[in-house]
Each structure stands twice: as structure tokens, then as C-alpha cells.
Symmetry: C2
Subunit: 408 residues, 2 copies
Amino acid sequence: MSRFNEYFLMKTEDVIDYVRDKLNIFPDNAQLSCVEIGDGNLNYVFRVEDVETNKSIIVKQAGVTARISDEFKLSPDRNRIETEVLILQGELAPGLVPQVILLDNTMSCCVMEDLRDYTIMRQALISHEVFPKFADHITTFLANTLLLTSDVVMDHKEKKKLVVNYINPELCEISEDLVYTEPFNDINNRNELFEANKSWIIENIYKDDALRLEAAKLKFEFMTNTESLIHGDLHTGSIFINKESTKVIDPEFAFYGPMGYDIGNVIANLIFAWVNADATINDEHKKAEYKDWLEKTIISVIDLFSNKFLDLWKINVNDKLAKENGFDRWYLNRVIQDTAGVAGLELSRRIIGLAKVKDITSIEDINKRVKAERICLSVAKDYIKNRSDFREGNDFIQALNNAERLFK
Amino acid sequence: MSRFNEYFLMKTEDVIDYVRDKLNIFPDNAQLSCVEIGDGNLNYVFRVEDVETNKSIIVKQAGVTARISDEFKLSPDRNRIETEVLILQGELAPGLVPQVILLDNTMSCCVMEDLRDYTIMRQALISHEVFPKFADHITTFLANTLLLTSDVVMDHKEKKKLVVNYINPELCEISEDLVYTEPFNDINNRNELFEANKSWIIENIYKDDALRLEAAKLKFEFMTNTESLIHGDLHTGSIFINKESTKVIDPEFAFYGPMGYDIGNVIANLIFAWVNADATINDEHKKAEYKDWLEKTIISVIDLFSNKFLDLWKINVNDKLAKENGFDRWYLNRVIQDTAGVAGLELSRRIIGLAKVKDITSIEDINKRVKAERICLSVAKDYIKNRSDFREGNDFIQALNNAERLFK
């Protein structure tokens, strides 16, 4: 009997045995190596490699507590959700997620394609690399996975089955607390304020009652709007990228939620790259050039998404009333408003809350980090409070440029 | 072995055996009678009575097709949903639903309290009876069952479990088609227009593109907003009533949907009673008096609901952000807007669509029925298109009085 018939947390030696036991992709006499390469918060990621041929695969296993803190106890069911979502997204947006080789619900583990020729996008952006195809790739991913899993396109009964299959209470709770609640509240939170910005944040965020009221509205939208099967954690650390290709990974936070949540996360994390470039590139020409590429990318993410969304809608719309003239535009406008709101939430929580981003924390100069954080938080307030004014990519950049001028 | 270990559709003799087999509430030697008294669309309702003592109970069994048409094939899982919801609503709103004695998922059947001292409210309103306590009772039912099952009050993870438990794809599809889609579309529908109103409806409803666009928005709200565990079919045929007491029955359409759906159904069906009274009471003084009571009741349903909702909120709110100053009012306003929209949908579909109400169909005078239908449809258009203007009970009555003046 296989020793993998009951869940346990694997070490590297176990993973080699596991791969030999479950799969037939390496020769019997191959010498296999295994290293743990995970740097996320929740899972263990192993690379298994044939030492001779360098052929490799990834084994990802879910633990029962988050790595970031034992306080988060999590059901390993998230591995099933993640892997099933990867398979579905692979069908809806071919080539834009890694290929799944095995799903094992007993071991809460999956085996997938190794993306060795890719880097994590956040790291690449901090190194100020450009990816001319990114906006095109990510908007195809967004439009396809979001619209094609919605009631606009799907049979409504089939869609309700997916709502049930991807209900994700524990990981949603993390987002509800860390994204929507704690960053705007000075009580019972796990926030970690950058010392030099502490009083500014208390004054400009914690004391802004109107901002908290808008966050409350967006939180209930997040908890109650079963619009699409969203990725749920689509920051630049969940994207593998190179010049030619983009792969979205780690959809363990996936559930039926508002479309704008995914798009807003992409926008906010591009803005983190923007303030990082602003703070860390010394050559003014190179700085302007890189910021310009990021701004164009942000504009393209919104505008290409909108175009692809409307095109896909025309071809795929099935709901009889959704075919009504003007409904597609009305629907898209609402998605873009949500996008602005969520971008503002992500910008806030990564600076105020528990889970930071390296784009900000790697800025060594205190004054420059203070400025970077204040730009992000000022844009965030604009996005959240005035979200109904946001329609096009350019609106998002104007808000960013307005905030930049405040702290010249 | 009991012959009730596998599902079959019971006849009256079977039901007597069933009650003896499953329950110990009648003496062994009691002589039991059984009659089928169901007049709904989907189920079989039996009264089992001890001939000597007149003690009685109700046995309700779900069939596999709707009684109204074999075209609707329905999973008998709706019996589980209905009964579990009755039990939960009985805890949240004590005394306002019938008491459940037995839930049997094998036979898709439940046994419950017999409400012999009650009449179906629709019938009583057509007989122009008044129920001074109705508004108080129904608003307690609405505020308690809706707010206490929402994310405002419930633990968010527990609430998500209820969303899954009460997913109800088949019965939701009936509402999506019959309430939201078909009444506003002249293609592929099962609508049945009253001949004398046919051209008026084609002109004023089918040709109103803006109306259909608003119906589309409301339809997607219905399909995606998992706000509260709603009854889902709260018309006056789902209410048993007498002077002292009100019991809401038949929650087989229950699922997590928008609060306004239930409240809007109550309002629309009171308006059906109003146009019925307008058309059928000959004594002008009595007519005015009865319409006045109905108008006051409609106002009270909105305003008492609002007061109870805000009071309950204060005591029970658990979500940290929902405690934010002003959020309760903002939330309530949205519920009342939804209420107006749904009231308009119900007013439309009962006149245009497949499932009629007796309040309208029992009006014998053709001209009076024409007028009654036009008042309802004019109010409906106002409620749907201008729903964001509706705040208080009085707003709902003003719209009704405006429509009345149009057809003086």
C-alpha cells in the first residue's frame, strides 16, 4: 500500500518518492533531485529535477497552517480549489496558466509544469524590466476567465454549481479582514505602519470616516456579489513572466466574487512598481521612460480589457436580457468602478496592513519611501471615494499624476 | 421494512399509513381521514385528521414535475430546502411560520402544523377583509429573517455554508424566466395577455426598451447578490392569516438573494388587492375605506420594516465595518430601492406572464379589468425605472395614486 494514502506534510525526500509513486514521467533509473522553492505564505513548493536531463516539474502541497503565521488555520481544500481553477482557467484562457499534471486531494497536492524560463513579475518590475506583451496577455486572461464564468455567458444552473464548488470561506475571510477591514480601522488590527509615516496615516486614513464607509460598501460587494469565478489574489507575485509569455499562478483564493477584484489588484500592483521606479531609479531619463511604460501598461490593462470584454460579450452572450442594447456598456462601467475601488483597497492594505510588498519595503531611503507610500495612499483614497467617476485607463493615470504632484 | 424507504408519490391512503408509520401523534385505534387540499403549483398537500377528535396535521409532498405543467421538471430537493427554511425562520421569527413536525428527505415530504383557523390571505383580501396586525407581523418576519441571515449579523463563514445549503438552481430558474425575462420580451415567452389589453401592453411594455434594460439590471442583481436567505415567493398566496396571527408558508423558492425581493412581492400583492377592491366594491364609501386600509398597510410595510431593520441592526450588527456610522442607512436605502424594482416586476409578470393572480382574473367587468391591469403596469414601470427615488412608504403610495389618476 502506498504511503501517500493519508495526508502528511512532505519533505524533499518524500516528494521524490511521491513523484516516482504517482507519475511516469521520469525514467525508472533517473537520478532525481528536489528543492523547496516556495516563498508564498500558504504552501510548500518543490522542484523535482532529473539531474541528467534537467527536465523538471513542480509539486505544490498545501499545509494546514499558513507559513506566515500559525494563527491562520486553513483547510487544505484550497489545494483542490486552486488546481481545479487552474484547469478551468487553462481551458478558458489557453497558455496563460501553468499546465496541471496531477491533482491529489488526499495529499492536498498538485503537480504542474515547471516555469523555469519565467521570473516572478514583482521581482522583474523591481529590476525595472519591461514586458511589452503583458497588457495584452493579462487582459485576455481577465476578460476570458471573468466574463466566460459569469451569468452573462454560462447556463445559470451550471454557474450556480460552480458557486458551490468554489465556495472558499477561509481564504475569503483572510481577504475580508486584511484587505477590507483592518487597513481602515485603528482597533483590533494587525497593521504595521512604517514609523516615519505613522502620524500621516493616522491622520489621513484612520480618521477618514467617509473612506471607511466606502470600504464598508465595497466589503459587502465582495462578500455578496457572486459575479464571476475570480482569481482572488492577482498581484504581481502571482504572475510568472518573460518577454514572450505570461502565466498566472496560485488561484487558491479563487471564489465567485466581483470581476473588479482581479483587475483592481493588477492595477494597484503596477502602481507599486511605478512608485518603486520613482524612488529607486536615479537616471532621470530612464526613470521617466520606465514610469511611462508602466503608465501605458496601466492604461492598456483597462482599455484592452474593456475592448476584449465587449467583443467577447457580443460573441458569447447567452442570457436573453443581457442582450439588451446598452446593457453590456452599463455592466462594463460597473466593473471598472469596482476595479477602481479594489485598486484603492489593495494600495492601502499593502502599505498599512500585515502583508507588505517588496516594491515598497525595498525602498531604502526613508524620505523616498514616505513619499512612495503617500502617493499610493492618496491615489487609493481617490480610487475608493470617487470610483464611480472612473471609466477609462486614462482616468486611472490622471489620479496617479494628481497624487504625484501633491508630493513633488 | 417500511414501504416509505424509497420515494413514490403518495395517494391519500398512503398518507394515512405514512403518518401511522412515522409519527406517534394519533392513538393507535384512531380513525384517520385524509384529503388532498393543495392548490399550489408544485406540491401535494394532504390533511390527515382524527375523525373523532378533529385533531389534524398537514403532510406536504413534492412531486417530480410541477402540477401547473409537466414542462417544469423539478428536483424534489426543494422539499428539504422548504422544510429546513421553515425551521430556521421559526427560530428567527417565532410564531410567524407553521411548526414543523417531521422532515423526510427520502419521501421528499414534511409534516407540519395544520393552520385550520387561518385563510389564505389572497382569498381574504379578495373578500375585502382587513387584518390590522398584518403589517406589524409581516415586517417582523421580513426584518428578522432577512437581516439576521445576512453578512451584517452572521459569521461570514457560517453564512457561506448557508449559501451552499440553500442553492436552489431549478426554482431560481423559474423566477429568472417568469419574473425577470418573459414579461418584458415579445419573443419565446409563455405570456398570456388579456385580450382587451393586448395592444396596450405591446405598446407600453414590449416596446419600452428602457424598461427592459432596467429589468436586465435587476435580473443580474437577483442572480448574483447573495445577501440574505430570502423566502423567494412571498405573495399573498403564501400567507395564512386571521385577525390575530400571520403565518408565512411555502418557502420552497428560498435561496440567498436580495432582501428587496421578498418585500417587493408583499407590496405588489397588496396593490393587486387594491385594484381588485377598486374594481369590485360597489359601495363608494366602503371602497374608499378598504383602499385606504390597504394604502396604510403598504405604507406601514415599508416604514415599519425600515424601523425594525434599523433597530435590529443596532442590536445585532457584528461585522466591524458595518458598524460604521451611516452604513445602516445607506444599506437600507438600497434595500428599499430593490423593493420598488421587484414590486414592479411582480406587478408586471402577474398580469403579462404565465402565472396570474385571482385578484385580477376574478374581475369580471372587462373595462374594469383593463383599468386594473393598466394601473398595475403603470405603477410597475414607475417602480422599476425610478426605483432609486423610493425611500418611504408614502413614495410607494404616491406612485399608485399617480397611476390611478391616469385612468380616472
